[in-house]
C-alpha cells in the first residue's frame, strides 16, 4: 500500500496509471496529476515511465551484448560471452526453424524483441510498490514500472512489425502478387470482395493480436499482483485474521511470481516467434 488513507479502488487505479507528460488543462506542459488529466492530454502526450524504463532496459541489453560482441573471441568463451552466445544460438535456431527465406534483418529483430520484451516483462517481478514508493518519495505521482502493461509499448513494436510485413510482402510478391494473395483466396476469384474482407481482417489481426496478447497477459498478471498486494491492506489492525491475510499475501505473491517467470519468458518468446512467422509468410511467394 502506498498510503493508509486511500481505498482499494484508488490503490488499483493508482497502480494502473502511467506517468504522462503533455499539455495540461491550462495550456502549460507538465505531468498529469490524475488519470482524467492524462486522458485530456490526448494523443500528443508521452508516458514517461514506459518510455524511460523501455529505453533503459533496451540500452542495457544492447550495451551488454555489444560489449560481448566487441570482445568476442573464437577461443574459450568467458562466462558472459557464453551466456550471450547461448541466447544468440537459441534465437538463431528458432529463426532458422520458422523462417525459410534469406533476410539478415530477421534474426536481429528476433533477438531484440525477445531480449527487450523479456527484460520489460521482468520488471513485473519487482515488488509491486517498490518503484512507485521510491518515485513518490521523489515527488513523482505515478510510476508504472512494467512497460509491456502499457498498450502504447506493445502496439509500438507490433506496428513496426506490421510495417515490415507490408514492406516485404510488396517487395517479394510485388503489388499485384500481394493483392492477389489478399483477393483471390481462400475462395475463387468470383468471391473477391468476400476474400478481401476476410484476408484484410486476417492481415490487420496480425499486429493487433501480437500487441494485445502481450499487453493482455502482462496487464492481467500485474492486476493479480495488485490484488494480492491488497490482501495485506488489513494489516493495519493487529488481529489473527489480518496476520493470516498478510501471510497469504506473501505466499500468493511468491507463487504467482514463480508462475510469472514462466509467463514473462513465454510471452517474450511468443511475440518473437510470431513476428518471425509473420515475416516468413510475407516472404512466401504463394500459399
Amino acid at each position: 500500500m502506498s498510503s493508509e488513507a486511500i481505498s482499494s479502488t484508488e490503490y488499483i487505479k493508482h497502480h494502473l496509471q502511467n506517468l504522462t507528460y503533455g499539455r495540461l488543462h491550462d495550456g502549460t506542459l507538465g505531468f498529469a496529476h490524475t488519470p482524467e488529466e492524462a486522458k485530456e492530454m490526448g494523443f500528443w502526450a508521452l508516458n514517461v515511465d514506459s518510455f524511460l524504463v523501455a529505453l533503459v532496459l533496451g540500452a542495457l541489453f544492447l550495451f551488454v551484448f555489444a560489449r560481448v560482441a566487441r570482445s568476442a573471441t573464437t577461443g574459450v568463451p568467458s562466462g558472459l560471452q557464453n551466456f550471450v552466445e547461448w541466447i544468440l544460438e537459441f534465437i538463431d535456431t528458432s529463426v532458422r526453424g520458422s523462417f525459410s527465406a534469406r533476410n539478415p534483418l530477421v534474426a536481429p529483430i528476433a533477438l531484440t524483441l525477445f531480449a527487450w520484451i523479456f527484460l520489460m516483462n521482468l520488471m513485473d517481478l519487482l515488488p509491486i510498490d517498490f518503484i512507485p514508493l521510491i518515485a513518490q518519495a521523489m515527488g513523482v505521482h505515478y510510476f508504472k514500472v512494467v512497460p509491456t502493461t502499457d498498450p502504447n509499448v506493445t502496439f509500438g513494436m507490433s506496428i513496426v512489425v506490421f510495417g515490415l510485413i507490408l514492406y516485404y510482402s510488396l517487395k517479394v510478391k510485388g503489388a499485384g502478387g500481394f493483392f492477389a494473395e489478399l483477393a483471390f483466396q481462400p475462395l475463387p476469384k468470383a468471391a473477391m470482395p468476400f476474400n478481401l474482407v476476410l484476408e484484410g481482417v486476417n492481415l490487420i489481426a496480425k499486429p493487433v493480436s501480437l500487441a494485445l496478447r502481450l499487453f493482455g497477459n502482462m496487464y492481467a498478471g500485474e492486476m493479480i499482483f495488485i490484488l494480492i498486494a491488497l490482501m495485506g491492506a488489513t494489516w493495519a489492525s493487529a488481529s489473527i485474521g489480518s496476520a493470516v491475510m498478510f501471510g497469504s499475501q506473501i505466499l500468493l505473491s511468491l507463487g504467482w511470481g514463480i508462475f510469472h517467470i514462466l509467463i514473462i519468458t513465454l510471452q517474450a518468446f511468443i511475440f518473437m516467434t510470431l513476428t518471425v512467422v509473420y515475416l516468413d509468410m510475407a516472404h512466401q511467394e504463394h500459399h
Binding site: T20, F43, P77, I109, G156
Partner: protein, 156 residues
C-alpha cells in the same frame, strides 16, 4: 491506458534498437561462433588425421621389424651354411696336406733306406776285402788283386 505519442516513441526506439543490434551485435557474435565452429571442426579433423597417421606408422614399423627379423634369420642361416662350408673345406685341405706329408715322408724313408743299403753295401765290400786281405796277406799281394775286387764290388 491512453493511446498517445508513447506509441511513436516506442516504435522509433524499437527501430533504432534493431538497427543497432543488426549493426553491432549480431554479426560479430555469429562470426565468432562460426569461426569457433570451424576451429573445432578443423581440430577434430586434424586429430582424426593424426590418429590415422599413427595407425599407418605403427603398421609400417611392424612391417619394418618383421622384415628385419626375416633378414637377420636369413643372415644367420647363411652364416651357418658358410661356417659348415668353411669347416668342410678345412677338413679337405687338411686331408690333402696330410697326404702330401705322408708322401714326402715315404719318399724320404725310401731315400734313407737306399742310402743305408748303399752304405751297407760299401761296408760289406770293405769287410769282405778286409777279410780277404787278412786271409790273402799271407799269400797274395793286395795291390795285384785290386781290379778283381773292384769288379766284384760292381757286381754286388
Amino acid at each position: 491506458m491512453n493511446i498517445n505519442a508513447t506509441l511513436i516513441a516506442q516504435a522509433i526506439m524499437f527501430g533504432l534498437f534493431v538497427w543497432f543490434c543488426m549493426r553491432f551485435v549480431w554479426p560479430p557474435i555469429t562470426a565468432a561462433l562460426a569461426a569457433r565452429q570451424k576451429q573445432i571442426a578443423d581440430g577434430l579433423a586434424s586429430g582424426e588425421r593424426g590418429r590415422h597417421e599413427l595407425e599407418l606408422a605403427a603398421k609400417r614399423s611392424s612391417e619394418v621389424l618383421h622384415e628385419a627379423k626375416q633378414r637377420a634369420a636369413e643372415i644367420v642361416a647363411q652364416a651357418e651354411k658358410r661356417g659348415i662350408a668353411v669347416i668342410e673345406e678345412a677338413k679337405e685341405q687338411a686331408k690333402v696336406e696330410g697326404n702330401r706329408i705322408i708322401t714326402g715322408a715315404r719318399a724320404e724313408i725310401e731315400q734313407e733306406v737306399s742310402r743305408a743299403k748303399e752304405q751297407l753295401r760299401e761296408n760289406v765290400a770293405k769287410l769282405a776285402v778286409a777279410g780277404a786281405e787278412q786271409i790273402l796277406r799271407r799269400e797274395v799281394d793286395a795291390k795285384a788283386h785290386a781290379d778283381i775286387l773292384a769288379s766284384l764290388k760292381g757286381g754286388l
